[in-house]
Subunit: 671 residues, 2 copies
């Protein structure tokens, strides 16, 4: 065994000397000894590099792929189809598909009408504005959108957010006309924001809100909305304007003696029970999905009829009273394009528009994954933006995709966006003919409908899963939830955004590092914490850095490596083993490095030199190796100190492990 290793060493040395005499270059020896050198990718010029970066950042989905190598006329057709996807799928539309769309369209219409009236109240708007927003926007979306399952219209969270932010600026009762104008202005700028983000391909910006934060925020908003409904459900007249749980509960209990109206409570609670029971049936058996879908409309019809014949409104049961008849009037000249409200409307619009986008994007993506079709996020944003811009000019407020209605739409078997057109037509008929009948609808019913609708936004399962998977995510989730419930939707949202960003920043400041050991019987080096069977190689410390090395973490990485070294040296001293002579950095996960990172490596190299420890790099990626060469660091430590694999690097350190490995790995291969 020993003699073998000796003869092998000699062989290598002879070979080396031969080559040296031929070329007197150490690099050549290196490449002869190890089959593959670390590849340096072909140098790109600046323009190519820039183009590649821009493409991956903004055109990651390669939207122009179908346009390649097409005649000009075809390109025009494709471009028109890209803006109006209906021209594409419309050509293969069939009666069979229409059957599905008709049924689902009618179902979501029956669900949306009572919801719309209630949601408009959340935004402190008259009920007809909710219906208006379910007429024009879905029509526009059907022509421009690419999701087949999304149901467009006003939604609870955005209505609440809009109402909260608008009423901070103007009183919805005392300054009613200005309030309405500001709402249209915000809607306009929400649309502009959405369309601009899509057009500039900045759709990825909404991804900075983490899933966990959204779950928390949505849950918090649901609780806040439900609490607000206690006013309608209990028939309280003097209700607080604050939305936090403490103010609301105080307001509720302080009114318990004289403020509650028992007739209202009877109506509200009985219909709420009915709605929740219908929901339960729908959940237990998917075949009965239509039960919770039409229950709200049935409740409205029944309760309206009941109030009409008993004249309960004279007993203190608050009713809708008046709802404007006829379709959307124009509101173009109501939007503030000048003055102080322009800026305020813009600010509110940008925030509400982003939240609306987040919700729509989540819905679109979920259902697209279920039916396995692709959604172009940026195109979708342009569609949503256009629909809100047009909406703001036709008396609508911000519409987006609704979770509850989209789910019903999906289960009712919708095939295309035609179901939105069907819904829109039903809303049109309602506005034209039926609205006066809503006069006697009690507000308690609307409150009950909203409570049962937002209950679905409280996603306990998701929260539990988040807790299981990632504790920090759970913190973000609870932060957003508690912030929303105990303070306001805006504070909750702010917390969600801040926590999301903090997580990103923490991730890049404190990347993980690991000590690698050799898995017995292989040439594979792995984290010794994950694989306790992995053994360290005497005299060599192998550290893996698990992140790109950037200015934000370069000093940490350098210090952490030195600390690993210090720990190891102490241990080695205690156990009287051979001292550390080589430090191998496994660079596979280091996807990029910047000037600060190179500096950190240089500093590390000079610290190690003082300790007589050789720095060796294993498997740097294409970008990293290019920069190591550009910065001359590769020459500083020596080109022959950069290896393809950790195994190669280890075998270069001392001849003995080479053979041991070769034997073991061959034994493994033939096992």
């Amino acid at each position: 065994m020993d003699s073998m290793s000796h003869s092998k060493n000699e062989e290598v040395e002879t070979k080396e000397m031969d080559i040296r005499s031929m070329s007197s270059s150490r690099r050549y020896v290196h490449s002869a000894r190890y089959l593959h050198k670390v590849g340096v990718p072909p140098k790109q010029n600046l323009f190519q590099e820039f183009k590649a970066t821009v493409r991956e950042t903004f055109f990651a989905d390669d939207p122009l792929r179908p346009f390649k190598d097409q005649p000009r006329s075809r390109k025009f057709v494709l471009a028109t189809q890209a803006i109006f996807p209906i021209l594409e799928w419309g050509r293969s539309y069939s009666w069979r598909k229409f059957r599905g769309d008709l049924i689902s369209g009618l179902t979501i219409a029956s669900l949306c009408i009572p919801q719309d009236i209630g949601y408009a109240k959340l935004a402190y708007l008259d009920p007809q504005y909710g219906l208006y927003s379910s007429f024009v926007p879905p029509l526009i979306y059907a022509f421009m959108g690419s999701s087949r399952d999304i149901a467009i219209g006003p939604v609870a969270v955005v209505s609440l957010l809009l109402g909260t932010m608008l009423s901070d600026e103007l009183d919805p009762v005392q300054n009613k006309p200005e309030y309405l104008r500001l709402a249209f202005t915000a809607t306009f700028f929400a649309g502009v924001t959405q369309a601009t983000l899509g057009f500039l391909r900045l759709g990825f910006l909404i991804e900075f809100l983490s899933h966990a934060a959204i779950v928390g925020f949505m849950g918090g908003a649901a609780v806040t909305i439900a609490l607000q409904q206690l006013k309608g459900l209990l028939g309280i007249k003097n209700f607080t304007k604050d939305t936090d749980i403490i103010s609301v509960m105080k307001s509720v209990w302080s009114n318990v003696e004289h403020g509650w109206n028992w007739q209202t409570i009877v109506i509200g609670v009985s219909f709420l029970s009915f709605l929740l029971f219908a929901k339960y049936i729908g959940k237990r058996n998917k075949k009965f999905f239509w039960v919770p879908a039409i229950a709200p409309l049935i409740s409205v019809v029944l309760s309206t009829f009941f109030v009409f014949i008993t004249h309960a409104e004279k007993q203190g049961v608050v009713i809708v009273k008046h709802i404007e008849k006829g379709i959307n009037p124009s509101s173009v000249n109501q939007i503030y394009f000048t003055g102080e409200y322009l800026v305020k409307g813009m600010r509110i619009g940008v925030i509400a528009g982003m939240i609306a986008l987040t919700e729509a994007a989540a819905i679109g993506r979920t259902f697209a994954a279920m039916k396995d079709y692709q959604i172009d996020g940026n195109k979708e944003m342009v569609a949503l933006g256009t629909m809100n811009i047009v909406g703001s000019m036709t008396s609508c407020y911000i519409a987006t995709g609704s979770f509850s209605r989209s789910a019903v739409n999906f289960m009712a078997g919708c095939e295309t966006a035609v179901s939105n057109i069907v819904m829109s037509c039903v809303v049109f008929l309602t506005l034209e003919f039926i609205t006066p009948l809503f006069k006697y609808t009690p507000n308690a019913i609307l409150a009950a409908i909203i409570i049962s609708a937002v209950a679905g936004l409280l996603d306990f399962e998701a929260a539990i899963l988040i807790w299981k998977i990632d504790k920090f995510d759970f913190l973000a989730c609870m932060g957003a939830f508690l912030g929303t419930v105990f303070s306001s939707v805006e504070i909750g949202l702010l917390i969600a955004v801040i926590i999301s960003f903090a997580k990103i920043l923490l991730q890049v400041t404190r990347p993980r590092t690991a000590i690698l050991g050799k898995l017995p019987g292989t040439t594979v080096y792995r984290n010794i914490q994950q694989y306790p069977e992995a053994t360290k190689v005497p005299g060599i410390l192998i550290v893996r850095v698990d992140s790109a090395i950037y200015f934000s973490n370069s000093s940490y990485v350098r210090e952490r490596i030195l600390r690993w070294l210090m720990d190891e040296e102490e241990q080695v001293k205690a156990e009287c083993q051979s001292t550390i002579q080589f430090l191998i950095i496994e660079m596979s996960p280091v996807t990029d490095i910047d000037t600060s990172g190179i500096h950190a490596l240089e500093e590390l190299h000079s610290s190690l030199q003082k300790k007589n420890i050789q720095l060796i790099l294993a498997n740097p990626g294409p970008v990293v190796i290019e920069k190591l060469h550009a910065s001359n660091f590769a020459n500083l430590i020596g080109d022959d100190k950069i290896f393809l694999t950790v195994a190669d690097a280890v075998s270069s350190c001392s001849p003995k492990p080479v053979q041991e490995q070769a034997q073991l790995s061959s034994r493994r291969d033939y096992a």
Copy 2:
């Protein structure tokens, strides 16, 4: 060959059947076939996990290590030494060391006196405040700081920044007393910020300013400061208050006819030439480092004497005129602790304090690396903070480490912080006895000294290196530079911060992905772009994701993988090869995954299932594998679809490559 592979297949099958009959478990087969399973690390409880995270984030440097297993009295000594490092290094202080410190202390004192007077003018303060700030803060630092080479005192960039921000709030001439009070307030809060960051171990926050952005900002500040000196150098009386290059140049040219003073120009330009020549000598030969170090003091002495005997001040040469004699008066009761200026002072102090920290940290780190000793960043911040807090109470404004003086200190052979004490003593003597002599010092000399000092901040070499290494970094550098030069230091700083953050965010939103191929003759799989010799395995697509999968990039990662698949499928179809049946994701660089990331994998899995493609994971890290299990994703795709290496994963896909590999790798091992 073919028959061999057949017989081998049969063998494997027989073996499989045997085992199946024994245990009827596929997992067992898996572990029997591949030596090592992917390790699942021992489950930590919540508290341990939390503790580990907090430790890595805030106590990455393990500051309590020396305290471990020590008796209580020793702990007390160690704690005192931790706060006052002078007690530690002072015990081994020697006369030999003092010789070095004395020489370097005298050298930096001669450099700092004229600089201090000039820098105080940059902050719109009277000259003595510059000297005050070179007396108390260096003394405090010497007792508490851990850097041996840093020279403490006022610096150009911070003085300019402070002057700009303070004069935005108050006029330094008309509201002189309030201006001074606000300066002390800002200094106080700068110190509080620094000490707090250090105490709360948040020192890593200053690392969010990228090296490139600092280079650009410093260069821009240098140009701005130099331009400001044209006033003194040309003897212009009506000079603009703006600092941007356009306003300054306009101001200079509009004064060319009547505003310039030729006597001032003669003095200024001749001494500026002298200073630059001295700098050149010092740069050419390191032995003459003292030439540029004492040149400023010589210039001051010569020019003061010259003005004194010629009475040039009567010809329009502006002189210092008056400089307060005596050491720092107390300023405790001058700090605003209430009122509107409290908030303003706090804001200015936080910003200026952070910039001062950045400069001091960079200097400390650079020289520590050169002499190979460790600096505790957080302790250093506490020292700097304390020194500024005490400074604000003794009529000093913000002091920090100066680049130019620290370099001179280092080259003059300083050994410890005693050189700062020496400098402080010289400044004390100056304040007590010599200040009246500065009466006739012409301002033009101070301008010349400042110009020659800040010239060193224009780091062209660093900018060129940044250009070579990273184009995006260069953009950040130029953005900060141009923003500072063409707008103001505040705008430049803002641009630097925004670009730094944008880079971090871009990095986490658009991680790199790569297609892997097999390097011929090995079992190593590498990026086919970096290694053109690597070949794809037919029927298998191997993708490596080069980043943790988080909410910010999970959809991108999913879509990018699907796009790779689409590209590959098109190519396969064009070349009539076998269709893709397996998608292997190499997870080595995926250091972490959150709930959004798991969702993305689930969506990817369901998309692939529809296409009849099997998803396989290779080498997930400890955190990832734990979360894959926690979220049940590991069961969803099957535990036997997760492998230790790509090679194992590939060999599981079809039996043929297994044998081929074994042969090749064994051939390599024996080569």
